[in-house]
Symmetry: C2
Subunit: 99 residues, 2 copies
Amino acid sequence: MRINEVMKALADPTRREILRLLNEGEKSAGELAERFAITAPSMSHHFSVLKAADLIRSRRAGQQILYALNTTVFEDLMSLLFDLFGRTEAGMHEKEGEQ
Amino acid sequence: MRINEVMKALADPTRREILRLLNEGEKSAGELAERFAITAPSMSHHFSVLKAADLIRSRRAGQQILYALNTTVFEDLMSLLFDLFGRTEAGMHEKEGEQ
DNA sequence: TCGAGAATTAGCCATATATCTAAATGGACG
DNA sequence: CGTCCATTTAGATATATGGCTAATTCTCGA
């Protein structure tokens, strides 16, 4: 996991809301876009940031592109946060995050 | 908790490293600064961002200012991440077994 | 093959951010 | 007091980011 890309991706409120919506299930780009007051190209930019961070996955279905959460990153994120905040008693979590 | 401020604070690698160092225990501004290749004013800027996000607390001890983690935010952060990634009932039924 | 619909890519602009140097603040101590 | 030391504040600058419009790509269906 690229921590920096993940964290930067999560730093934007629009992207966090996209993730929240995708938590309900797979949605098309257009379906997501209509929930926001920004243009499709801007949304597309956010999708690419989320994809680069591997927070979402996409697949084409006809003319549409469907996006879905990549939940495996969640665990990595938890691991990172424990690394930052977790009060550890010697070896409580062996697996250290990168960076 | 101001999610946006917390997330933006965490988006910077220097600030994440500061938190990691503070996880070892309280440290002075200078003590933290000497670990990085950036100037004291730049460090000070990062401290203020972390403070604004309530991720750290500070207290004066003579000429020095000591910083410490504010661990209570950790729980809030976890809660937020579950909100983003945690499978809710609706989501669970839509994409079961997906990874 | 052609046109329409969905989405992305390209290019531009304004704002936000991270960094620096220089100056100001606040405490310690002779 | 006066000066030193630790840190912050002010102000400047370069880069990053997020938004837009216009143009392009890709797929579907007549």
